[in-house]
Amino acid sequence: MADPTVALTFLAPEIIVALTGALVLVIDLIWIRSTDAPNTPRPWLAYLSIAGLGLAAGAVIGLAGVQTTLFEGIVILDPLSTFFKLLFLAIGMIVLLISVDPLPGFSKWSAEFFALIVWCTLGNMLLASAAELFTIFLCLQLTSLPLIVLIGYAKRDPLSSEASLKYLLLVLVSTAVLLYGMTLVYGALGTSTISEIGKVLAEQRLTPVLALGLVLLLTGFGFKITAVPFQYWVPDVYEGAPSPVTAFLSVGSKFAGFALALRIIVTGLDIPLNWHLIFGVMAALSMTLGNLGALRQTNIKRMLAYSGIAQAGYLLVGLAALSEMGIASLLFYTAAYGFANLLAFTAVIVFANATGSYEISDYAGLARRAPLASFALTVALLSLGGLPLLAGFMAKFYVFLFAAQAGLIWLVAVGVVNSVIALYYYLRVIWQLYVPEGSLDPISVAPRAGLAMSVCAVGVFAIGVFPEPVLRASQMAASALFGG
């Protein structure tokens, strides 16, 4: 066990991120005091935040080889936490890049926006390392509370406020459920660190109280990963939230739920239940209901919300395999999905800035007005649909391959049928972009958005054509989970 000062150096990335958020707020205060025009946009604050996250990413990479537990086992550093921390930092940086000017008229409060995203990222990172129930609880609050504010950030937009209230209620309920589950588990087992829970559970019979505790625990995560039957909040919140926040929610928040669920389920829940079936059914329902829901949507944000539910289903297919490679394929999928979804949202934001609309029918003929953004959205949707040269193809193939290894052929069948349904509604958007004739006024794309799209597109193509490095990293992360 390392002594506390050494332990703190292992938390350097988190400390850097925490300080970045604070620094942004303080600098902004000083700046506002010294200026007469507090409403001028301050993009440099976003760049400062990005730089902070970049520095933290450097620190994560520097600590990549470290495998240890800190503070009596409540924080764990291993390849899995490294994988997720890098993913969360990348997501945070891209989201900051696309929210440099978050909302017209809200420039005065942009520092708060950036700081909240930074802290939310911090919460996600800590979740990836948390290995004790009550630490997990605190970290979850750290990610959820900023999100409530961020979702309601466009306070003059009733949809945004409504979404925020819905999310607030959801957080309250899921927190209550989770906390109840945690206390039951703690009461039944007398320990709250995950590895200890695993050990005790292996020797103990499943009592009703314990079972209830575990179910409630999993329910709490279900909301976060937006899997059926915990998905009801998703479409309204995704639609109402400011778009960069939706982008953040759709990947960062969801993956944080997975990071947590993985550690608890694989390390902690060594009990004789048919997890294959439980997660398999959740996966099948998420894919099917998500895709069927998406079919009817006319609003792109709602469509992406339903598609996100379906994608959570594909991720759960990897979990249902419950093998080292199954988890590796899940991790690979998160990276592939993350880039593709952020790419889609960036393009959606570009279009919304130009046309003021999120209706898919208003996308008619945009390919001629904004060829690059249209190409970006097309690439993103086709990657989500699982077509080759793009990350999604590889990701889906791996997930299905390892589900087949675990004997879950029926689940693979459900998955591939769903891919066909999904392609239909993705193609409908692409059809709107490319086929109808429309106006020819070019849409200008801000360089920042262009940069964000390029980064994501490069990620989507790179993972799609040369998946080996990411696959390697996923395997390392997964094997740490099973080895430890």
Binding site: L382, L387, L389, F393, F400, L401, V420, W431, L471
Partner: protein, 488 residues
């Protein structure tokens, strides 16, 4: 054998050209010139492969192998055998002529040629892949370009046809995904190398069901009855070059997939389902021909005739003997060239007269004898008349069928009769008589438009009159398969 990676050049040049066009292809001139350059390179490469493939030695040649995704044992392995060599030649010919046919596409040429070349890369890739994952990767690459090509530049219910086609193909590939995953774990050697897969022994029950998955998955593309309905709609809606590629080559990917990933891996499975395949083949032949008989739109006639002709390929497969297989592969090539020629001709007539209705067209012979002659050659090949490639193909298939089942031969022969009937009727109507009003505007095509027709017509005749080289090539390709089918 040689150090030049000729297969990679053939398969990836179109991709490189597509990227170049996407990045720099402003105006109308640059995209089509780049496309033509790519097509020429592919044609030259395929010709080189055709000329230097060692038919006596047989087997997979021109192999290139690079590790791609080692954690899963996936490699980029390309190579050709006697079955893929003719397919490569077919694709190169159709690509080259397709680019020429599209020379005057002036609506968004940059996007058009980029997508066309992307599609071509997918098809070439399928024919040269020796790794099952790589094959599937290329196969899926062809799906989306096809959708956009039809949806943007098509005609007649194009949105419906494009979506239907894409979803059918994707549904087929969904089955293939399941099958690939099953085979991968069954082989258990952490590889997708088809040469290793072909050497594995699969239990009979496994063979039966996985073969069925592969057959239906790839068969959707053949297209097998009753999953064929996307195909005539797709042919009709697509712009000319895409119809050519689509009917000419894409359907062959289906048959090729059944051959490579179905029959080669699961001979037992083939035997289990041979009767079903034969019945479906016979239905394809007769039903397709009868449907073609009833059509009033030229493109629909050829669209349904494709359903009918691909039935011979299925019949050939189902016979599990030398002649049947030879005939099937020969037919894949022959039908590809013939149907590409048909679509090139119809495309030309439609462009000039703005109609494809048989009732509105007559007297082509007196307006444009060259086009009329090409129509006759294509129809002769379609009817299987001697001195055309279609004759050799159908003869081989019939020899195969008669050896097995005279009844089936008699049923399939109905198809020949009906084919002759609808084609002769169509030819008589559109070629002879006084030129109709629509035909008044048609003149002999310009050299750029004439060249593709000439190239395809000459290929039909050459292969028909001198079939020996093609025959030897195909023979070299099916020899190992035959040994396996007979030995098992």
């Amino acid at each position: 054998m040689n150090t030049l990676p000729v297969l990679s050049i053939v398969a990836l040049t179109p991709l490189a050209a597509a990227i170049l066009i996407g990045a720099f292809g402003r105006g109308t001139q640059l995209p089509r010139v780049l496309a033509l350059v790519a097509a020429t390179i592919c044609l030259a490469g395929s010709a080189w492969v055709w000329a230097t493939y060692d038919r006596a030695a047989g087997g997979v040649q021109f192999v290139e192998s690079v590790r791609w995704i080692p954690s899963l044992g996936i490699s980029y392995i390309v190579g050709v055998d006697g079955i893929s060599v003719p397919m490569l030649a077919l694709m190169a010919l159709v690509m080259f002529t397709g680019v020429l046919v599209s020379w005057n596409v002036d609506e968004r040429p940059r996007l058009f040629f980029a997508l066309l070349l992307l599609l071509v890369t997918g098809v070439f890739g399928v024919f040269v892949s020796v790794d099952a994952f790589l094959l599937f990767f290329f196969y899926e690459m062809a799906v989306v370009p096809m959708y956009l090509l039809i949806a943007i530049w098509g005609s007649t219910h194009k949105d419906y046809a494009a979506m239907k086609l894409t979803l059918f193909l994707f549904a087929g590939s969904a089955l293939i995904t399941i099958a690939l995953a099953l085979v991968y774990w069954q082989v258990g050697a952490s590889t997708f190398d088809l040469r290793i897969w072909a050497g594995a022994n699969f239990p009979p029950g496994f063979q039966r069901w996985v073969f069925l998955l592969m057959f239906v998955g790839f068969g959707t593309l053949v297209p097998i009855w009753p999953l064929h309905t996307w195909s005539p709609d797709g042919h009709v809606a697509a712009p000319t070059a895409v119809s050519m590629m689509h009917a000419g080559v894409l359907l062959k990917i289906g048959a090729y997939g059944v051959l490579r990933l179905g029959m080669t891996l699961f001979p037992e499975g083939l035997r289990d389902w041979a009767l079903l395949i034969a019945i479906i083949g016979a239905i394809n032949v007769v039903y397709g021909a009868l449907c073609a008989m009833n059509q009033t739109d030229l493109k629909y006639v050829i669209g349904y005739s494709s359903v009918s002709h691909m039935g011979y390929v299925l019949l050939g497969f189902a016979m599990i003997d030398k002649f049947g297989l030879q005939g099937a592969v020969f037919q894949m090539f022959a039908h590809g060239i013939m149907t590409a020629l048909f679509f090139a001709l119809i495309g030309y007539v439609y462009e000039k007269s703005h109609t494809r209705q048989i009732a509105d067209i007559s007297g082509l012979m007196s307006r444009t004898p060259l086009v009329a002659a090409a129509f006759v050659i294509a129809s002769a090949a379609s009817m299987g008349l001697p001195s055309t490639s279609g004759f050799v193909a159908e003869l081989l298939v019939y020899v195969g069928i008669i050896g097995r089942s005279p009844l089936l031969a008699a049923i399939a022969f109905v198809g020949v009769v009906v084919t002759a009937a609808y084609l002769i009727r169509m030819l008589g109507k559109i070629l002879l008589g006084e030129p109709s009003q629509a035909v008044e505007r048609i003149v002999d095509p310009s050299p750029v438009r004439l060249a593709p027709m000439g190239i395809l017509a000459i290929t039909i005749m050459t292969v028909g009159i001198f079939p020996a080289t093609m025959y030897q090539t195909i023979n070299a390709g099916i020899e190992p398969l035959l040994t396996k089918l007979m030995g098992g």
